[in-house]
Every structure is written in structure tokens, then in C-alpha cells.
């Protein structure tokens, strides 16, 4: 009886494994994979393009930086981790700007005066953009601050970090990886 039961189970095991192989074959035919050229605020997808005004009133567009690695950081002056990570951003920007690295710090829903005071107090030299109506923060699903997107030379999002502060070591590794990518 036990031997019969074991033989019966062996047959089921072989049947299941055989069906598994058939399923692998079927599911590899006509697969509908994601078209990652769809712009979405998600790692692996094309970064949604945007255009915002900087502190000098000039229009800055993400697409203008195609071919260069970009870090887009959503921040606000009232947010403690945003304040804490700014010195690291400045250090990394100073070190890698000459190699083409771009930082776009998007101020979320604050006035131009607040953003200017913040940048001057901390001697920030990277571009600060104003998202006064919060439209871009919403499009990028930056539901909490800070939120940081690393975008490669081809315009694809390579990493998204929700929250902070981001350490300088992490930033350095991300930037070096982005710079190493060959177009």
C-alpha cells in the first residue's frame, strides 16, 4: 500500500514538473514586456520630462541635460532630513560637476524668497528649481520629502530614494556608477 502511494506521488511529481516545463515554454512565447520608454517615476523607466524656473527666473528643462547623469532632489526648507543632506549634495556636486554630473534641487511648494534664503545660507551652487504649485512633485509621486531620483545619461531612472538624509558615501557610489556608464 505504501509502495503504491509512493509510486502514485512520484507520478504526480513528474507530471507537475513536466507541466512546469510546458508553462515556462508557453509563457516565453509572445510575452508582453513593459515598454520602459513609457515615462514613469520608477527605477528602470524613462524619467518624465519637466520644465521649471530656477532662482534666477530662467527656465530649466530636464531634457536639456540628456547625455549627462542627473540627480533630481525634491526638498523643502522645513524638512529636517532635506536640510541635513544638502551639504553632502554640495560636496558631491563640487567634486563631480566638471565630469558632467548635474544636480537639480526642486523646492516643493515654497516661495522663491524662502528658497533663495535657504540656498544663500548654505552656499549652495547647484541649480534650485521652484515647483510652487507642487505639480512636478505630484507627477514624480514625491509623497514625502526628501525624495531623490538618479537619472542616467540616457534619461532613464537608475535609482529612487524615498526619505533621507542620503549619506555622502551612497551619493558618491551612485554618481560614480552613473558616470561610468558608456553611452
Amino acid at each position: 500500500m505504501l509502495a503504491f502511494k509512493n509510486r502514485h506521488r512520484s507520478f504526480i511529481n513528474i507530471l507537475v514538473l513536466g507541466l512546469g516545463l510546458i508553462w515556462i515554454a508557453i509563457s516565453s512565447v509572445g510575452q508582453t514586456f513593459t515598454d520602459r520608454s513609457i515615462p514613469a517615476p520608477r527605477r528602470g523607466f524613462l524619467a518624465p520630462d519637466f520644465s521649471l524656473i530656477n532662482l534666477d527666473g530662467q527656465e530649466i528643462r530636464l531634457a536639456d541635460f540628456h547625455g549627462r547623469p542627473v540627480m533630481v532632489n525634491f526638498w523643502a526648507s522645513w524638512c529636517p532630513p532635506c536640510r541635513a543632506e544638502m551639504p553632502a549634495f554640495q560636496n558631491i556636486y563640487t567634486e563631480y560637476e566638471a565630469q558632467g554630473f548635474v544636480v537639480l534641487a526642486v523646492n516643493s511648494q515654497e516661495s522663491r524668497t524662502t528658497a533663495v534664503d535657504f540656498a544663500q545660507t548654505r552656499a549652495l551652487t547647484f541649480p534650485i528649481l521652484l515647483d510652487e504649485d507642487g505639480n512636478l512633485s505630484s507627477r514624480y509621486q514625491a509623497e514625502s520629502l526628501p525624495t531623490t531620483f538618479f537619472i542616467n545619461k540616457f534619461g532613464y531612472i537608475s535609482n529612487v530614494i524615498y526619505g533621507g538624509p542620503i549619506s555622502e558615501a551612497f551619493l558618491r557610489i551612485q554618481v560614480e556608477k552613473l558616470l561610468e556608464e558608456v553611452p
Binding site: N13, Y162, A169
Partner: protein, 244 residues
């Protein structure tokens, strides 16, 4: 998708919260059910925590070993909470080794310990898939089915929910009081076999699969694990060792 949970001034990362709840719930269940498998509940709890702590430290140290120059330049980053500063694979390996050493030192029976731990793994699997649903990770392939969800620019299979439902079903099957699982090690192996079987089937609906020559790599790995589990379970049936 709910990546951030706003509670007053707090913005909590929902996936992390779900994972923590899953670990806590799973461990408390495993500890309470340990006696049924003749395993000391406190030992099981300590074994898990030793593995978790060693895993976290090991994952960070492995990352430091990978990028020593960066940490020499920024030594404070050694203690950073950034999740990106970990090597997860090394963390898992180191955690397993430390847990194994703890179990060996305490003379814990391997098969029965794994059985006692199975319910925790099954609950953790549910939490893991729910966390992925909340973060939008492991997303499905594009679909026009009525229950497809809008995610990352198009309508997709809610594959994380399919996996959650499968995990709930598996938990039901390997629940500690299941009477049909009577051989030591059978709870654990059945859980692994069913989980890999579910993965083999549901991977076909994923939109982010890694391909090996046109074949989804996760399906191949799942099939191999399923085959090994089936073979071991077959061996067990020759010389059964009953759970009391």
C-alpha cells in the same frame, strides 16, 4: 499603491512597516508553535534574532569591503541608515551561517526547527508581497483584464496581489495544525515547493522579469528548486520520521 503612509506629521514608508509587521507576527507565531515540533521557543526566537542582527551587520560590512575608499573618505557613512549601503546577498548568507551556528551550538534538530519556522516564513511571504504591492515593485505585465490596475504609466496585471493570494493559500496548507503533514521536515519542504510552484506559474504575469535567452530566469530557478524539493520529499516517504 501606497508607498508612504502619512500619520499626522509622520511619513512612514509603508513597505517597511508591512515587512516589520510580517516579521513580528511570523516570529511570535513560530515561537508559540515551536513546542509542537519539540523545539525550544526561546531558542527559535534567539536563532532568528541572531541571524537578523548578523545579517544586517554582515550586509553593511560586505558593502564596505566592496567600496573601502568611499568609507575611508566618509567614515560616518558606516553607520548610515541608507538601505542602499548594504549587500543583501552577503547579509542573507552571513545571517544563515550565524543562525546555523547558533542552532548547532544549542543542538536544535534541523528538520523540526525548519518546520517550526515555516509558519513565520509563510506569514513573511504574505507581508513581502503586500509590501511590493504598496511600493509598486515587482509589477505585472500590461493587461486589459477588468481587474488590471493602473501602474507605471499603463494598466497591468496586479501580480503582487496574485502572489499575496497564493501566499495566503500556502499558509493555510502549511498551518502548524495541518494534519496531513506528519513527517519531520515536510512542513518546510512543502512550503518551499508550493512557493516555488506559485512563482513558476505567476512569474509569467510579471512585467519586470530577467530573461535568459528569452526565458524568464525566475521560472527556471523555481523549476529547479521545485524538482529538488520533490526529490527530497520522495526520499522522505521511503523512511518516514513522524512528528509526535
Amino acid at each position: 499603491m501606497l508607498p508612504i503612509l502619512h500619520l499626522g506629521p509622520l511619513a512612514i514608508q509603508t513597505p517597511g512597516l508591512i515587512i516589520l509587521l510580517g516579521v513580528g507576527l511570523g516570529l511570535s507565531l513560530a515561537e508559540r508553535q515551536a513546542g509542537r515540533y519539540q523545539v525550544n521557543g526561546s531558542y527559535l526566537y534567539n536563532l532568528t534574532f541572531a541571524g537578523l542582527i548578523a545579517g544586517v551587520i554582515g550586509a553593511r560590512l560586505a558593502f564596505v569591503a566592496h567600496y573601502p575608499a568611499v568609507f575611508i573618505a566618509n567614515p560616518n557613512s558606516l553607520f548610515s541608515l541608507n538601505l542602499g549601503l548594504f549587500e543583501p546577498i552577503w547579509g542573507i548568507l552571513i545571517g544563515l551561517v550565524i543562525s546555523g551556528l547558533y542552532g548547532w551550538r544549542k543542538r536544535m534538530p534541523v528538520r523540526l526547527t525548519l518546520d517550526a519556522f515555516t509558519s513565520a516564513l509563510a506569514i513573511f511571504a504574505i507581508a513581502f508581497h503586500l509590501a511590493q504591492f504598496s511600493s509598486g515593485d515587482s509589477y505585472g505585465s500590461p493587461s486589459n483584464l477588468p481587474w488590471a490596475i493602473e501602474l507605471w504609466g499603463t494598466r497591468r496585471h496586479p501580480v503582487q496581489l496574485y502572489e499575496t493570494l497564493a501566499a495566503v493559500f500556502i499558509l493555510f496548507l502549511v498551518w502548524p495544525r495541518s494534519t496531513w503533514l506528519r513527517i519531520s521536515g515536510q512542513h518546510f519542504l512543502t512550503f518551499i515547493a508550493m512557493s516555488t510552484g506559485a512563482r513558476l506559474f505567476l512569474e509569467a504575469f510579471r512585467g519586470d522579469s530577467v530573461l535568459w535567452g528569452g526565458i524568464r530566469s525566475a521560472q527556471v530557478i523555481a523549476w529547479l528548486v521545485l524538482a529538488v524539493c520533490s526529490w527530497i520529499l520522495g526520499k522522505y516517504q521511503v523512511k518516514p520520521t513522524s512528528i509526535p
